[in-house]
Amino acid sequence: MATIAMPGRVEAAAPARPAEPTGVWSWITTVDHKRIGTLYLFTALFFFVVGGTEALVIRLQLMKPNMGIVSADMYNQLFTMHGTTMVFLVIMPLSAAFFNYLIPLQIGARDVAFPRLNAFSYWVYALGGVFITAPIFLSLAPNGGWFGYAPLTTTAYSPTLNIDFWVIGLQILGISSLAAAFNFITTIINMRAPGMHLMRMPIFTWMSFVVQFLVILAFPVITVALVFLLFDRFFGTNFYTIAAGADPLLWQHLFWIFGHPEVYILILPAFGLVSEVLPTYSRKPLFGYPVMVYSGILIGFLGFGVWAHHMFSVGMGPIADSIFSLTTMLIAIPTGVKILNWISTMWGGQIRFTTAMLFGIALVALFTMGGISGIMHSSAAADLQQTDSYFVVAHFHYVLFGGAIFGIFAGVYHYFPKMTGRFLDETLGKWHFWVFFVAMNLTFFPMHFSGLLGMPRRIYTYDAGQGWELFNMMASLGAFLQGAGMLIFFYNMWRSYRQPATAPADPWGAPTLEWTIPSPPPDYNFAKLPQVTSRYPLWDEKGREAMIQHRAGDRIPSAEELHIPMPKSTAKPFVVALFMTCMLASLIFLHVEGMATVGILATIAFALAMVGTLYSWLLSPLE
């Protein structure tokens, strides 16, 4: 991204925009929230390809009865890693890419509250992702499902290293999410531009705000559950040892206390993105903004009281089943309110069917379908028929693929010009959308039927003659069609990269602060901090002109010229993240015959290195 020639009133000597640093080192040392957002985006897209490839192998194996593409053991690793990858390495980081890129821009800030902590979060994620993914090449990838139910995952039943990679990997990734959550909470509370009070905050920022609280409340619980499992596996404790009197449901409860809020952590950012996209292309303010905000908060809060609906089949008794049925039905109400608000937003609007809008509308439709099958599960009696069948697989792919991924793609098409200064091609984008839409339904809709016909989840093959052949063939073809859709998307990105940057500050006529500054924004974001007077400043008749900070052809001054102090680039967050990951990764050796001493020594050495670097980081000034 060297200097870009801009047409118009640019003097020959002065570049149109300040030169951005280039090279690998500049990315390792960056503390700019936008560059970190970009890193998140590309890393998560890389893992999307990884997780997608795993899914394609799974679908190839299940295409026909009794296929032998992979062994049963490798199949276990594939579906475990597909789930783990998509949840922790794809959807959460894709959301994090938007948190990073958009939150400071939407609230009118120059960066996040703790820029170096932000870089640290990214590097922990990237290194943790490599740590948990790489073992699949040695057939050592986690193989206990993304939920890792203990006691199945204790040493007695899973003696090999596979689960150790999962336990330690998730701990590493959890640290990344927690550090990022403290950062964004502080940013949103304390870095809003003058006049940006809470009820003027863009809805994406609002939903992100709720998500950060879900992260700080849900992740400690799985941290503890994983520590127990780690201690059981490495030090012989009894948390999940049934023979010692342990309760076989302890893990399930702790996991789902985390696990259910986690699904809102996955979906709410996409809801936020779509709540930006739908009003923009309908040219109408979001219908019922306050209701949207409150329903988001309510979903977050109620999300902590529904976890046991994942456990109806374990026999908790009629009282517990009834209570969790009820709370689950209750939580559908604020979610349904959101759907209604989106439809009402579009109602009577001047709709432009851009690619982003298509993805947004599709989210409303597909998520509704996933939501309806979700309400079906909330009845304990019905759930007993559906649990652990492909019906559930269909349900959560409608929610997480039709919901989260479609919402994120709506965000990608909408914000791509803001992030890169370049447009994605609309024709190719629509091809991408329609291929995706058809493929998505082709893959996951038939799973409702195979599920109701009794096909269990997680089986690596099946016999002919049970009525599942057609549905599996459809699902497999759909999966490959999805792969084709992704190829179109990547080709679109590559094409866009080769074209000149022509995007103006507000290419879509969107209303919020991020569209008042150049595309892509300079490192300091806002040359002068905006004074916010309404929810949609760029749609105000009055005051609109005053909000615009950049017009086509304007020269973009550098931070030095504007005397804006910028945080210094530093590799310290990266180094601390590296040492911390190595420290936790070394624990693996405790489970390798004869390597325990090496493991302990390495852990201590990396811990000391980490603390030393951390002190050096803390004692060096930011700017």
Binding site: A113, M191, P194, V221, G236, T237, N238
Partner: protein, 225 residues
Amino acid sequence: MTTATLTADHGHTHGAGGAATPEHQPHHTTLGLDHRKIAIWAFIGSECMLFISLISTYLIYKGKSLVGPYPHEKWTDPNTGETFNAILNIPVTSASTFVLLMSSLAMVLAHNAVINRTGKAKWWLLTTILLGTGFLGFQAYEFTSFVHEGLTIKTNLFGSSFFTLTGFHGAHVTVGVLWLCTLLAIDLKRGLKPEDGLIVDLSALYWHFVDVVWIAIFTLVYLIP
């Protein structure tokens, strides 16, 4: 580990009337509060969930151990006939509880000394550190005597959940002691001034929270049979 990183980006903001130098305008903050203080409170909120998970597990497994030693009752091994006393040592733990409580008092007095320039900050910081270390000493004594009496982390559900819960708490105290030592080193090197009230406050909030967790543990684990 995240604890320490929270204080990371000092210098980026100076809350209302912080140490802003003329050529260096304070950054805008919405509420006039320091970023770090918001972050530490969010962190403490998160820690509530961490400790509640540990405490819940302890309570769920209370009375579920198949073999002794037990926390509050005698136990005779049916195979060997060997008798084990109730393992919790209430007098010692009451003393250590008192020590930790007093360390909180010393901590607020240290903070008070810093913002009021009484010059006694280093003594109160030192007192807090010594009391905190004393608590850890009690814990080390407790753990080793339990092991001698036949209770390890592997023995039974009580051992697993007890050592993990109190061990996590002890680890938090250890981090707090290191943090306070850092503050003491800063004080000895250049003297903590009223402007540094905030960085002392951050460590104090963490320290009191760890104390408050112990208040819950002392009642739920030690006193209630």
